[in-house]
Amino acid sequence: MKNQKIIQLINVSKFYATEENPSVNRISLTIERGECLVLIGSSGSGKTTLLKLLNGLEKPSSGSILIKDKKIETYNIIALRRTFFGYVFQRIGLFPHMTVRENIEIVLRLNKKPRVFRTKKVNELLEFMHLNPDVYLDRYPDQLSGGEQQRVGVARALATDSECLFMDEPFGALDAVTRYDLQDEILRLKKAFKKTIVFVTHDIAEAFKLGDRIAVMNEGIIEQIGTQAEICEAPKTPFIEQLVHRGLS
């Protein structure tokens, strides 16, 4: 099982019609089962676009994406999203007309899971995210703080027990303490369930804490990819050197 390729990008580029430069530029990348790959880079460097490409929300302009050695186009993308990928969106995207419970269980409902199972799952996930179910189950998103919304967004992504988890700046709006706790939970999750995680962040400390490997993105390309040690010891560009020492400002 170790070192099995779960996702592969081969020379993938993405051009938006409205943009002059490619948002993702000829990226080749292999993600292995059970690893946590952290994408870090300044805003606009193409991190979100890369995640969307992995999830099929955007189609690559060129290059190909393989999921378990088969081209992504050969899969039923909807089924893939429902069972194989979990996604925490940068803009969270909770459904405002649904309660916390309904937001978390929605994909389970689409998958026709029985009610008892869903209720159990929702309660577990809320506990896991440090949210008291008695308090939060029947609240609506606009009755939550930004941090609480983010945690519900993470719970929703975890509901399907999918193998892969894409998390786009999931802890950006959290206070330092909660953020620290949840980072620990992610590590536990990874260990316990061997989840493959692609995690986007702004925060170099978070990247080092969570990432087995870290990919530094800048203007649509990956400038360097490697372990914390590799990046700290041999930063390839001045940009990375600065990042390592001062973080992103």
Binding site: L57, R81, F89, G93, F95, V107, L110
Partner: protein, 491 residues
């Protein structure tokens, strides 16, 4: 009922169309623009246009109501859908919703408040237009209003208007409740299914009711022993139609269906050709100018034989013998006004017309035998022309908002409001002999109708007609009573 059903139908058409517009930019602007233009078509014109195609009654009314309800619903569906937050759509896609699930679980629920506001607009305008539907015999509360206006009976008007106002309020309240259901947080998940059941119940009830009503109507007419008598929407027509109806009921085994409130000459004529109406009183002059579209002759010759011949040849409609009076159109002024300005003839009026305001029904203003021809023939130029309902016209002149109105020479109201009709000294109008017009096939099938009506032929002169009109208009009696009384008198 008609309102509810047409809203239901309009939603069924407009919501899917709205969804398609969001998905496909193709034709989006054309359709939205066409929709907004469609709202500016006058509903009465639309009704007139539909009668030749669909006949009278509920069907064309339903079509018109639905037609006007579609655009607000379409527009609000479209606006509602494009205002769904993009991050919600992205999340739905990213989590693996199919297109249909995305629509049903996310887009429509989030668009709903806006869609409901569109539904509200549609409801208000539909209820408004529904009152007009009475003109094509769709009945309903609008009937009270149009008849009340025609008979100058304010109780009748209120009888229609108050429930309509309440109906509008009730609909609005119902919809706002619906809106609250979705807006305010439902406390328990079981609440929305119950709402759905209620809605489903209401709409199926509506369908059953309408269906039943329709079948019942079919049942009546299918028996073939009934004859439909129509009238235009003014007093004299009601009385004449009642006279004929009661005579036929009395002297033949035929059943009579009364459609005593049909809007314009054109609507009745089309209904006659379609077979929705069998018999109604018409005036030779109106037929000559409006239906046969002959130019005004100005010779004052009797055109009755010409009209009778043309109707038989062109439409297979038979003019029975005239009742005995001629109801010409003319312009009327207050008696004291006439004295003060020394007015007797229309020619006299032409001299001071540029200082005067005239009120007249829309039909009169547009007809070649109305304002158009008259003003050419006499060189009439008014300072201002007000287009009003025939019955509001009298109020207008009584309250001195206007100095001149269009009037019929047999109108009982002339007396009440102290008006005198001016003399048509240039003989612009042909004599307007009034007689029953009947479908030839009906007359052949039931020749006894002729027998039954014959007591009326030549027995109602202008004086009598004015008296009958006055009994309804001034004494507030019903056309039914007045007709009954007159028949007793005749025998």
């Amino acid at each position: 009922m008609l309102v509810g059903f047409s809203l239901f139908l309009a939603s069924a058409l407009a919501i899917p169309l709205g969804i398609l517009l969001v998905r496909f930019s193709f034709l989006r602007h054309t359709i939205l623009r066409a929709g907004s233009i469609s709202q500016t078509i006058p509903s009465l014109a639309m009704l007139g246009f539909l009668v030749p195609l669909l006949g009278l009654g509920n069907v064309p009314a339903l079509v018109v109501l639905t037609f006007y309800a579609i655009y607000p619903i379409l527009r609000s569906t479209y606006t509602g859908l494009i205002s769904v937050p993009p991050e919600c759509i992205e999340a739905a896609e990213g989590l693996g919703f199919s297109n249909l699930q995305k629509l049903g679980w996310v887009e429509l629920p989030l668009a709903l408040p806006i869609m409901i506001s569109g539904l509200r607009i549609a409801t208000a305008s539909t209820i408004g237009i529904a009152t007009i539907a009475a003109f094509i015999g769709a009945g309903g509360l609008g009937d009270f209003i149009t008849q009340g206006l025609a008979l100058n009976n304010s109780a009748l008007i209120l009888l229609g208007a108050i429930p309509i106002a309440f109906l509008a309020l009730a609909f609005d309240y119902g919809i706002s409740q619906l809106e609250n259901q979705f807006h305010h947080r439902k406390k328990k998940g079981s609440r929305s299914p119950r709402l759905k059941t209620i809605l489903l119940g209401i709409s199926s009830l509506g369908i059953v009711f309408l269906g039943g009503n329709y079948l019942y109507q079919e049942h009546i007419t299918a028996k073939g022993t009934s004859i439909t008598i129509a009238s235009k929407n003014f007093t004299e027509q009601y009385i004449l139609a009642e006279l004929m109806a009661q005579l036929i009921e009395m002297k033949t085994p035929l059943k009579v269906v009364r459609k005593l409130n049909l809007g314009t000459t054109d609507i009745i004529h089309q209904a006659l050709l379609k077979g929705d109406v069998d018999l109604y009183p018409e005036y030779s002059g109106t037929a000559y100018l409006t239906i046969l579209k002959e130019p005004p002759s100005q010779s004052g010759e009797d055109i009755f034989p010409k009209v009778r011949g043309a109707y038989k040849d062109k439409f297979n409609l038979v003019w029975l013998k005239p009742f005995g009076f001629s109801n010409s159109q003319s312009l009327a002024v207050k008696k004291d006004f006439a004295q003060a300005h020394n007015l007797q003839n229309l020619s006299d009026l032409a001299l001071i017309a540029p200082d005067l305001t005239i009120a007249a029904p829309p039909e009169f203003l547009k007809r070649p035998d109305g304002m158009l021809g008259l003003s050419q023939s006499y060189g009439l130029e008014f300072k201002n022309v007000m287009q009003v309902d025939p019955n509001l016209m009298y109020m207008a002149i009584d309250h001195q908002e206007v100095e001149v109105i269009a009037a019929f020479t047999t109108d009982g109201k002339l007396q009440k409001y102290q008006l005198i009709p001016l003399n048509d000294d240039k003989k612009f109008y042909p004599p307007y002999h009034c007689a029953p017009v009947i479908r030839a096939t009906i007359l052949t099938a039931y020749p006894e109708i002729y027998e039954a009506l014959s007591v009326l032929f030549g027995h109602i002169d202008e004086e009598k007609m004015r008296r009958l009109n006055a009994k309804v208009d001034l004494e507030g009696r019903t056309p039914f009573d007045v007709a009954q009384e007159f028949l007793v008198e005749l025998n």
